[in-house]
């Protein structure tokens, strides 16, 4: 078959994701700010859809944030990752799925570097043996958790309780998708759709009935920048980048934002709060912000899970306007209850951004 034009380019950016047999590693940031997203990734992909995804308590960080903040040498980061591979090998798995884009980029960079410089891989194997007496096989496939949700998106759509449709107007909800830089900017052929036509999130949105919003700064970084957020003195960089994105998307009136990377939803959510406090400006309607969701939260809403079980109360931007458009029923009084339904009082309200 002779492929033509876009069809040919597109075929180069497809990923043949294995259906099953995954060794799962968690994210430093996602488990801190969106712990329920990790819970529901497993609840949906493993428990509901029945796929084989294994987790061991013995895995750790991949060291990616420390590495990209320039605080550990490359060999340290590589050997930490080699230990994760050893745990995968010992558990009898060949495919690794990570809950973090920084990790996904880190694993990919390491495997590509070893492919080009086999002597480095040999040294890392030696390091790991000296430090832990462990050995490893390299994974046959490394996926980001969103790759699996993308792969299973139609199975999720078949079980949907809600479509991404505004129940008041009957029109598709307008969703901004944010891919996260380390998913496909470094190694475009490793991301679904590459850096030019990434569709890992847009594929989910369209499959679940929504409409993807295109806007000029769609591919701009959220502004994490590692040291540019982690050091208090540098956070102007971080908020400025988010501000640029929101100014660019504002005229398109999105109903929500869905994100790939664990850090991006935190920054796109919290910097809306900071911008509102600093300038008085909000980007949603009637003083609200634009709700920012992880892809697990979006999948969970589509499947009809309770929004407070999904952790939407941990967002600073109120999710209620989106829930109302979707027709999701929720108990406002249950939003801030604790693990045993005890009353934990409520967070203070921001001075500008409208919240409940």
């Amino acid at each position: 078959m002779i492929y033509q034009g876009k069809q040919k380019i597109w075929s180069e950016y497809q990923k043949d994701i294995p259906a099953d047999g995954w060794f799962y590693v968690r994210s430093c940031i996602r488990q801190n700010f969106f712990p329920a997203s990790e819970k529901y990734f497993l609840a949906i992909c493993r428990d509901l859809l029945g796929h084989d995804i294994f987790e061991t308590e013995h895995h750790t960080t991949c060291g990616g944030i420390a590495y990209h903040s320039d605080t550990i040498p490359q060999e340290t980061a590589m050997t930490i990752v080699a230990r994760q591979f050893a745990l995968m090998t010992e558990a009898g798995y060949k495919n690794l799925v990570t809950s973090c884009i920084t990790s996904f980029g880190n694993y990919t960079e390491i495997l590509e570097t070893w492919r080009e410089f086999p002597e480095l891989e040999a040294r890392i194997r030696e390091n790991l043996w000296k430090a832990t007496r462990r050995e490893f096989d390299k994974p046959e496939y490394v996926a980001h958790a969103s790759d699996l949700v993308y792969k299973y998106r139609n199975e999720i759509a078949e079980r949907a309780h809600f479509r991404l449709v505004d129940k008041h107007t009957g029109k598709p909800l307008r969703i901004v998708e944010h891919i996260g830089c380390h998913y496909s900017k470094m190694f475009p052929h490793k991301g679904i759709g590459g850096a030019e036509y990434p569709c890992v999130l847009s594929g989910m949105v369209e499959s679940w009935g929504g409409e993807v919003v295109d806007y000029p700064e769609r591919r701009h970084c959220c502004g994490f920048g590692f040291r540019q957020y982690l050091v208090k003195a540098n956070r102007g960089y971080s908020v400025s980048n988010t501000h640029k994105k929101f100014e660019s998307m504002e005229p398109y009136h999105p109903d929500a934002i869905v994100t790939n990377c664990p850090g991006c939803p935190y920054f796109l959510d919290r910097w809306q709060y900071v911008i509102s406090e600093q300038t008085g400006k909000t980007y949603g309607r009637d003083g609200f912000g634009i709700p920012v969701l992880t892809y697990e939260e979006l999948a969970g809403l589509v499947l009809g899970y309770d929004p407070w079980d999904l952790g939407l109360q941990l967002h600073q931007v109120a999710a209620e306007p989106l829930l109302d458009k979707l027709g999701v029923e929720y108990d406002p009084d249950a939003k801030y209850l604790g693990v045993n339904k005890e009353n934990l009082m409520k967070p203070e309200l921001p001075s500008v951004l409208k919240c409940f």
Binding site: A36, G105, L128, T132, F224, A233, P350
Partner: protein
């Protein structure tokens, strides 16, 4: 020392530095260049000259610390360079030689190293609620101030296994696994890196007349004028 030869030993440099044609595409797409007085094209151009004095000046400057390592430049370079990777190699060399204490942004390596690596070695992750405070992160908003105040209940409500045994989000990492991380740091130069950062930062703090606690607080919070394009 020939700095170019040192850089060329770094695998990120080998991957990210080929012949640069000075087109400036990296600068055009760079999120850092938009806000900081930063131009990745110039940095790669200086490195390409192999001028030892000019490279030393870079290693001691604020300039190399402005990058956010988003790697947007990698996608767009028509010559398959990675200016972000060149930056990582420059930063690595700057730290090894103790040059990082010569610039305000370089000195930030001290609090970064301290916080991130103590999290990795004590909790098994780079970020952990036990050390993430509202005081240092007011942008996390009143909702996170509330969440941190009720950590165990809130994380429990959201399905995390907070500081518990067995798998799950925010679980306690078993001691033997943390010991393995420490052994990896010892074998791979991670521990030595912490000692180097401590040694040069201590000397700088002394020169600036500060205790280490004051130095950590100052480098974490202080931002002079002159870094931004619109100043």
């Amino acid at each position: 020392m020939n700095y170019f030869e040192e850089l060329n030993k770094d695998y990120r440099f080998k991957e990210g530095f080929h012949t640069c044609i000075n087109c400036g595409t990296c600068t055009a797409v760079c999120p850092a260049a938009e806000f900081y007085r930063y131009d990745p094209r110039k940095i790669v151009s200086i490195v390409q000259t192999k001028d030892n004095d000019a490279i030393e000046e870079l290693l001691k400057s604020d300039t190399i610390w402005y990058c956010g390592e988003c790697m947007s430049c990698v996608t767009r370079c028509p010559r398959k360079n990675g200016p972000g990777l060149v930056i990582m190699a420059l930063r690595d060399l700057s730290i090894r030689l103790g040059f990082f204490t010569e610039s305000e942004k370089g000195r930030q390596i001290y609090p970064l190293t301290k916080v991130l690596n103590s999290n990795v070695l004590n909790y098994g992750y780079c970020v952990h609620p036990a050390t993430f405070t509202y005081k240092d992160h007011p942008e996390s908003g009143p909702v996170f101030e509330w969440a941190l105040e009720h950590k165990e209940s809130v994380y429990g409500r959201l399905g995390a296994n907070y500081c518990g045994k067995g798998p799950g989000a925010l679980r306690r990492i078993p001691r033997e696994d943390l010991d393995e991380l420490k052994a990896i740091y010892d074998v791979t130069g991670g521990t030595e890196r912490l000692e180097i950062v401590e040694k040069y930062s201590r000397a700088k703090a002394e020169e600036m007349g500060m205790t280490m606690q004051e130095y950590a607080e100052y480098t974490f919070t202080h931002c002079s004028t002159g870094h931004f394009n619109d100043e």
